[in-house]
């Protein structure tokens, strides 16, 4: 009922505005004024609005920074992420300076040079020196930004070290499965044609490298300080493995295997203390639209000490053991 009243009110308001406009136009034409002519009074008013906006805008930006800034991601939980955060801040400082200077010039000029009777604008058509200055300086600043950026990019995307722990992350509508490469640190072959209810990743059991692979759901653990390399696959559509706390993201594309790697530097327990939040967890989210439940495709990530990690991993069954297990055990394991 209230909704209908609101719509009626809006419609009535529109009619009222319409009549007010008509009255205003008729009355100004009676007075001999053309309503569309912009007067010096109009210019002065708009100029003042422009200047007011400048202040309000910066107040708004500062409010956002103070109120929302602290709610952005906490410090990086990965080694490469620390440098990325530095790079981000470096960029933002430059951008902020440019933003401030240009918006000030824009709105101050908009305020200062409003049209007045008897005033004449200055006929300045071009100035090559100025153009040169503001072509070369941005070019230099951007060159510096690129150099830092690409240095980081090369480091992040170089191949993982040989002794990185290899984990496959398998994405499907709408959950994640992690497969550890196990003791041989090599993932067994897999093929989508081998997918069954009991073998959702299509692992090839004839490949001996599969025997020590460990498949887990709901959460996966990684040890502090050791590089992890993720091999990413998707079952039916593009997904994306997004681990924002670790500043890592890589698409999972059906038909190919993508990879990314990082070294965690803060355990879950340590981060809980830092954030004063005993319920905090690192999370893996899907970040490429993948269907109706895209918004709830997650897996918990636990970073712990090496001994805790080893204990956790040894409590999980390998692929070979699971394959040989009787039906009831498989049913339980599949949950």
């Amino acid at each position: 009922m209230t909704e209908i009243l609101i719509y009626v009110a809006i419609t009535l308001a529109l009619f009222v505005i319409g009549y007010m406009v008509r009255v205003y136009e008729l009355s100004s034409s009676i007075r001999g004024k053309k309503q569309h002519i912009v007067t010096e009074g109009d210019n002065r008013l708009m100029a003042r609005f422009m200047l007011t906006f400048l202040f309000a805008f910066f107040a708004f930006v500062i409010y956002n920074l103070e109120s929302y800034g602290p709610r952005t991601l906490p410090e990086s939980a990965s080694a490469h992420g620390v440098e990325l955060d530095w790079l981000f801040n470096f960029n933002m400082i430059i951008l902020f300076i440019v933003f401030t200077i240009t918006q000030i010039f824009l709105f101050v000029f908009a305020f200062k040079y409003y049209g007045r009777e008897g005033n004449k604008a200055t006929y300045l058509a071009h100035n090559n020196k100025l153009e040169m200055i503001w072509t070369v300086i941005p070019a230099i600043v951007l060159a510096i930004i690129i150099i830092f950026g690409l240095k980081n990019w090369n480091k992040i995307t170089e191949p993982a070290s040989k002794d990185a722990i290899v984990i496959q992350l398998y994405a499907k509508q709408f959950d994640w499965t992690a497969r550890y490469a196990g003791k041989d640190n090599e993932l067994g072959a897999s093929n989508y044609k081998l997918i069954t209810g009991e073998n959702p990743l299509g692992i090839d059991s004839t490949d001996t490298k599969s025997n020590d692979d460990i498949v887990v759901r709901n959460e996966f653990h990684i040890p502090l300080g050791k590089e992890v390399e993720f091999k990413l696959n998707a079952r039916e559509v593009i997904h994306s493995a997004y681990m924002p706390h670790f500043r890592s993201q890589m698409n999972c594309v059906p038909g190919m295997t993508t990879m990314m790697h990082f070294t965690p530097i803060i355990t879950t327990a340590q981060m809980r203390e830092k954030l004063n939040n005993p319920k905090f967890d690192y999370i893996l989210l899907c970040n490429k639209i993948c269907g109706n439940s895209h918004y709830n495709m997650q897996m918990t990530i636990v970073v712990e000490t090496e001994s805790e990690y080893k204990a956790w991993l040894s409590s999980k069954s390998t692929f070979k053991k699971k394959a040989a297990a009787p039906a009831e055990v498989k049913a339980v394991a599949a949950k």
């Binding site: 529109l14 319409g18 406009v21 309503q35 569309h36 912009v38 210019n43 906006f53 805008f57 708004f60 956002n64 952005t72 990325l84 790079l87 981000f88 951008l95 440019v98 933003f99 240009t102 824009l106 000029f109 908009a110 040079y113 049209g115 004449k120 604008a121 006929y123 300045l124 058509a125 071009h126 100035n127 100025l130 503001w134 072509t135 941005p138 070019a139 690129i146 950026g149 690409l150 990019w153 170089e158 044609k193 990413l232 079952r235 039916e236 559509v237 593009i238 997004y242 993201q249 698409n251 594309v253 059906p254 190919m256 970040n287 639209i289 269907g291 109706n292 895209h294 918004y295 997650q298």
Partner: protein, 605 residues
Amino acid sequence: MSAEAHTHHHEAHASNGHHDEHHHEESFVSKYIFSMDHKVISRQFLITAVIMATIAMGMSLLFRLQLAWPGEKFAVINMILGDKWGKDGILDPGMYMALVTIHGTIMVFMVLTGGLSGTFSNLLIPYQIGARDMASGFMNMLSYWFFFLSSIFMLAGFFTETGPASGGWTVYPPLSALPQAMEGSKIGMTLWLISMSLFIVSSLLGGLNYIVTVFNLRTKGMSMTRMPLTIWAFLVTAILGVLSFPVLFSAALLLISDRSLGTSFYLSDIYIGGQALEQTGGSPILYEHLFWFLGHPEVYIILLPALGLTSEIISVNARKPIFGYRAMIGSIMAIGFLSFIVWGHHMFVTGMNPFIGSVFVFTTLLIAIPSAVKAFNYITTLWKGNIRYTPAMLFAIGLVSTFISGGLTGIILADSALDINVHDNYFVVAHFHIVMGVSAILGMLAGVYHWYPKLFLRHMNKKLGYIHFWITFVCAYGVFFPMHFLGLAGVPRRYYTNSAFPMFDNLVDINVFITIFAIIGGLGQLIFLFNFFYSMFRGPKSEQNPWNANTLEWTTPMEHTHGNWPGALPVVHRWPYDYSKPGKEHDFVPQTVPLEEGELDGGGH
């Protein structure tokens, strides 16, 4: 009908002001519906775009309600979407994605491409270069009607059983190729592909026309360097379109093939619905390359016309030449060229070769340079100006402000290392909305207010224009600025709700803040809609040159004349930016005024 024959035909009847009625007995249908007159066609584009924009904006308000108050009941949701997609007033997750998809598609293509280029290229090219009409009035007419049809098909998805396309406006396969993957990949996706194919045809017909007209139909004295910047912008935009839209078309054709003919261009190793599909060898990344090969130039196809309009409006209203006319032309051309070699920056995290990623970082940062030059030139045009604040001028200044804000965050996104953590999250959403959804729209609105007298022979209401600007400008920043922080908090885009992750629980108030500004901003557009439609019929009649501008469109009579000038075409003697030229009686000198003894053209004294 060649341009030459057309011109002679009209010049032969110069003495007869109503020669068109005399010789082409135009029926209502041929005059207003299937018109081949660029002025009618531009109005058709504009009105269609305004309607589509209103619909698409309405969609955004629906899904913003869901984002701010997830799971809460809203009667309006049930009222509009019925029990199927809005049961109990709660938005269905599949429909959420459909709304997001169609909102994006309509805004990017129908509104900002059709509505910007279609309206203003059609209106201004023949007028400003001194031509009777476009090179091919017939192709022009087709261009509009294909656009109209494509708009109908885009909305048709809402009237199907399974709903419209819902894989995001980018519709990546395999999601969009497999009907089993999602309801929105069924008939809705087919309709989307048909709509886009028709749209591409419309764009190509229009673009070819614009290019040929600019190169061939300029009037005597209208050299390339005496053309207003609007025309330069429209020309480069049209070239971009002609070269890049066919690539999207090919992407769409291959997608249609994968969907209907069992091919595997984009598909390989897929297990879905309990079945391992036969297709192997294809790659979804192929689609991404083909899509973004258009997708990136597309955003410049959107932005360049808005920048061109702004150059004109700022110059006319500051009563000064646009600062750095040649630098502006150079920037337009540099942006146009570079826009073809940056597409990979949308694909940094697809797993493509990191070296290629570096190349795209480099080219993308290059494109920032001409963009910066343009922004600085606008600001310098204001310096020591004598600014007349028409509503159009307000919008033009608003464009410059948001172009700077949105452009700067582009630098973060261009940096592949930094893009890793913000790709596909709200940081990106903030960036592209500020540059396209605000900046380009402000440019379009500036154009509507400024050229309304030429479109509809009347004036829009000035005070309503002022109110509309300030509500829009303030609310736009209110909506999109906080989104940067959501992105930096890790919030992904296209999420139905953020409530599935405890890490986003402390961001709820930001979403509410955004939605409230969106609702106020949305309601503010009603003022514009009222002003726009009301003034068409009741607005005060305009004079011939209400803004005291120099360009040729303001020398045509105040009634729509087939052939634009009754009599001979104007002859041009100077560039369009002689505002406040020293030694002149008025603060403007139209292009048709001959140079005096010893007077220099093009910015010299």
